[in-house]
């Protein structure tokens, strides 16, 4: 494959006088749109098209496995795709830290000859509570057709504090798919371009290529403001997706208060036995109907509130006490706000909920889910450049977007999230890598001293 740097790219554009071409818009760093019917020289169009295809091609990457270095591998590909700084450091010198040279210091009496040796005794907190374990998906023996199931929760300590108590399950990642083409940031969209019209293929890609542990199917076409697909029609997609993949499924509505309960009820029916998660019951919807749909068909329900610990308690209680949802069938979504756009609220709200659960509050000791995809709403993730003139330039958004989703997710992982709903494959890979690391699943280590003396 030919190598290509950003600089060369821009030079090429210059060569074709792109800035002056009418009807050709260059959006951001790598996005080129040619408006139909624009009077542009054919050879130029061809050159530009070749270029876009080339970029699409190199940004496509299939079938990579999740092993310890998946994230880094991904990033390597991303960087080569973008043609930025390709240097692969096979030659990286492992510089050993220099031994400090013996110095002759006139030891004044103040400097002791020997260290005062003391022991560090770590403080050990006690938590009485335990987070409920919830299993999503059901295998044949359990009445479903899933080949794998996913269990979350079970913590007895703060997230990844495995030195306090074992953390039985690593948090899992679901990739969002939709039953119609949604609005997506370009950096996300380009990874799904070929499957946007086909939820079943989309689900396959999410699982096979991008390593999703589960899939979240959003039935947004049921929105009365969009296609207003009737529930019986919409749930056909549920069946298709269940056929297409063997991982557990999460089913979401459109967010429409009147329609979601009917849609989710129907979805619960067709997914009978599969132990899906219905997303979501909220206080301003008919939560009772959604809760009953989950209970009657053996599914899990997502209890979603808007950043308010007391509302979360209330809704959980309603679902547990009034509907009678079993304790192993409830997951909470306390709402995710993106980095820079309320993440402080989201983090603290979740952290408080988790601590309350660990301290024995049985209205709040349930696993948590996060709509981490919200990170793409942040301007820093998608805007081509800063709207503020005085800002230091923001740099290529292809690199800002994924890291925005990663940092949003990682922060909330530290607050106690057990299930992430995400979209960018690179962000999924990196978040998995860091969680695997914190779980102790990544064995290799590297020198913590090398940086002190490395040159470069």
């Amino acid at each position: 494959m030919e190598k290509f740097t950003l600089e060369e790219f821009f030079q090429l554009l210059k060569k074709y006088n792109v800035e002056e071409l009418e009807g050709v818009r260059i959006e951001g760093d790598l996005e080129i749109e040619i408006e139909p019917g624009a009077g542009v020289d054919v050879s130029t169009i061809n050159a530009l098209l070749a270029l876009t295809q080339y970029i699409n091609l190199i940004q496509e990457f299939g079938n990579f496995l999740y092993h310890a270095n998946a994230a880094l591998m991904y990033l390597q590909r991303l960087s080569s795709a973008l043609g930025i700084q390709l240097q692969l450091p096979s030659t990286t010198q492992q510089i050993q830290p220099q031994q400090p040279q013996p110095v002759t210091v006139e030891a004044k009496p103040k400097i002791p000859e020997k260290l005062i040796e003391v022991k560090f005794e770590p403080y050990k907190p006690e938590y009485t509570g335990v987070i409920e374990e919830v299993t999503l998906g059901a295998k044949k023996s359990e009445g479903g057709t899933r080949e794998v199931t996913v269990t979350i929760g079970g913590e007895r300590s703060l997230p990844f504090y495995t030195f306090d108590a074992e953390m039985p399950h690593m948090p899992v990642i679901a990739i969002d798919i939709f039953d119609r083409k949604p609005m997506l940031a370009k950096a996300v969209r380009e990874h799904y371009e070929d499957v946007l019209e086909d939820p079943a293929e989309w689900a396959k890609k999410a699982v096979k290529d991008f390593g999703a542990d589960l899939v979240t199917l959003h039935l947004i076409s049921t929105d009365p403001m969009l296609e207003d697909t009737p529930p019986s029609e919409a749930v056909k997609v549920v069946e298709e997706v269940l056929q297409a993949v063997r991982v557990p499924l999460i089913i979401g509505g459109s967010g429409n208060k009147e329609k979601d309960p009917i849609v989710l009820e129907k979805a619960a029916e067709v997914a009978e036995g599969e132990r899906v998660m219905l997303a979501s019951a909220t206080l301003d919807m008919d939560w009772e109907r959604i809760g009953n749909a989950a209970k009657d068909h053996g599914h899990v329900v997502l209890s979603w509130t808007q950043m308010d610990i007391n509302n979360q308690k209330t809704l959980n209680r309603y679902l547990l006490k009034r509907v009678g949802i079993p304790r192993d069938s409830l997951v909470m979504d306390p709402t995710t706000a993106a980095l820079g756009y309320g993440l402080d609220y989201a983090y603290t709200n979740m952290e408080r909920i988790r601590i309350s659960g660990l301290r024995g509050d049985t209205d709040l000791n349930f696993p948590m889910s996060s709509g981490t995809t919200n990170a793409w709403g942040a301007r820093e993730a998608w805007m081509k450049e800063s709207p503020i003139e005085e800002d230091t330039p923001w740099g290529p958004r292809e690199l800002r977007g994924p890291i925005w989703e990663i940092v949003t997710g990682l922060t909330l992982a530290l607050a106690g999230v057990d299930l992430f709903m995400m979209m960018h494959p690179g962000a999924v890979a990196v978040l998995k890598e860091i969680m695997n690391t914190l779980m102790g699943n990544v064995k290799e280590t590297a020198d913590g001293d090398a940086w002190i003396t490395m040159e470069g």
């Binding site: 005062i116 560090f120 030195f163 800063s386 709207p387 800002d391 590297a446 470069g456």
Partner: protein
């Protein structure tokens, strides 16, 4: 802070309610100490009496130690300074975090001078607008990779010229001494005393009176180093439990950092109640390409911005590395006790005339500054009405009832906007669309529903202004 109630503090105060501190009563002053808004030394009579009377002096010292933060607070830098440590709690909702993690960026002395200047300028010039202010970077870390005292000294001097706080990095005491002879008055943080070189570094810290990092992966050793330094008269100590960049090493780092901070605060172990250093730059010693290393550096940094690092050393100066970490730091260190808000009222954007549009937004700082900067930088002339929604954003306040048509009516009246413009068109945020009718009824103005995102106002105006 050991005390939890103002009453416990009140006992130590003069109890005259003289008001010199700016508060009406000693009791309210005591409450402000608890909130860490003021310090005992902000009570002038107490300080004056302590100078004269040994007994009062003792009382003041006792109060200071009772009310000082759990984690030692340290100031790095000469003319420009950055404060680190000073934390009191493990979770921000328990009070707040106080001194944001200080970000230092790497230069090394085997670089040529031009590149050093380039990197330093990037650090000094970096800025990112966020809720009303520019976020900036704190300082420069200079590593001695030449192992040559003369070169290190020269480079450190050059870097000092940029006026930013510094961390000096070399395990070689000779190199460190050479640098300190040049810049000790800038009060750099020196890095690092280890099991091997601690005697020399102890000497340097005492002689040059600079804060020092003690470094060990073994927490017994780390604590022993800190204790030895403290007992030898060094007061400003930073702990580096060694950042290992990947795998089990990184997991171990996570554990060490948490154990240190938790044991300091809950276990009340004063020997480890010091600021913690984490070095995301370690990511650059792994085998990968530049973007991967920069990403991984950001990941390590994020982990420890959330969990307890007080000072960090970074290498990547790429905007995609800096932006997420600097934003996360701001978010985690925002005081959760007070929503960040601005004064409600009327703002004039780009010298508007009586023909220009009137916009409405809320007084949540994030909302206000986003809108204001979009208008200003888009060269849009207009009048911006800022509604008091108690510091809440548009959608939240519409949903929560702080954004109402009645309040908009009052705002129009109070700001006398009707005397400033000839038209009666109000542009409201797209997310407040449902209030369109109610605002028209209350105010008699014609209400235009603007776009969802204020970044799109410019394009929207081209289509919709002046109204037909």
């Amino acid at each position: 802070m050991k005390v939890k109630s103002p009453l416990e503090i009140y006992r130590y105060l003069p109890q005259t309610n003289c008001g010199e501190c700016g508060y009406d009563t000693c009791m309210s002053f005591a409450a402000q100490i608890i909130e860490r808004v003021v310090k005992p030394t902000d009570c002038p009579p107490l300080v004056r009496d302590a100078e004269k009377d040994e007994k009062v002096k003792k009382r003041l010292d006792e109060l200071i130690s009772l009310t000082s933060p759990e984690i030692l607070e340290i100031v790095i830098g000469g003319e420009n300074t950055v404060k680190i440590g000073g934390e009191d709690v493990l979770h921000r909702h328990e009070l707040t975090f106080f001194n944001p993690t200080a970000f230092f960026y790497d230069v090394w002395d085997s670089l040529d001078d031009k590149e050093i200047d380039e990197r330093c300028s990037k650090v000094v010039e970096y800025k990112k607008f966020y809720v009303g202010d520019f976020l900036t970077l704190d300082g420069i870390a200079v590593r001695c990779t030449s192992n040559n005292p003369e070169r290190f000294k020269q480079v450190v001097k050059k870097v000092a010229g940029y006026g930013k706080p510094m961390v000096l990095i070399s395990l070689n005491a000779n190199c460190m001494r050479a640098a300190l002879e040049e810049v000790a008055k800038e009060r750099p943080l020196i890095y690092a005393a280890t099991e091997d070189n601690w005697r020399e570094f102890l000497q340097l810290a005492l002689e040059f009176k600079v804060p020092v990092v003690v470094r060990s992966k073994n927490l017994d050793k780390l604590k022993s180093l800190a204790k030895t330094f403290k007992e030898s008269g060094v007061n400003e100590i930073v702990l580096d439990p060694v950042t290992e960049p990947i795998g089990e090493g990184l997991k171990g780092t996570f554990e060490r950092v948490i154990q240190l901070r938790r044991t300091a605060i809950l276990g009340e172990d004063k020997d480890v109640a010091y600021p913690i250093m984490v070095t995301p730059i370690s990511a650059w010693s792994i085998e990968a390409d530049e973007i991967s290393k920069a990403y991984w550096e950001t990941v390590i940094a994020s982990l420890f911005i959330v969990k307890y690092a007080d000072v960090m050393i970074f290498k990547s100066l790429e905007p995609y590395s800096i932006m997420p970490t600097i934003t996360l730091r701001y978010n985690i260190y925002t005081d959760p006790r007070t929503p960040v808000q601005v004064e409600p009222g009327l703002r004039e954007i780009n010298n508007p005339t009586a023909e220009d549009p009137v916009f409405l937004t809320t007084n949540f700082a994030l909302t206000y500054y986003t809108v204001e900067s979009d208008l200003t930088s888009g060269n849009i002339k207009g009048w911006l009405l800022v509604l008091d929604t108690e510091g809440l954003g548009v959608e939240v306040s519409v949903a929560g009832g702080q954004f109402t048509a009645g309040k908009v009516k009052d705002l129009i009246k109070d700001t006398k906007i009707e005397e400033r413009v000839k038209h009666r068109y109000l542009v409201i945020p797209g997310l407040a669309a449902r209030l369109q009718g109610a605002i028209e009824d209350e105010t008699g103005w014609k209400v235009l529903v603007g776009p969802m995102d204020s970044g799109r106002i410019k394009g929207w105006l081209e289509q919709n202004w002046p109204p037909k």
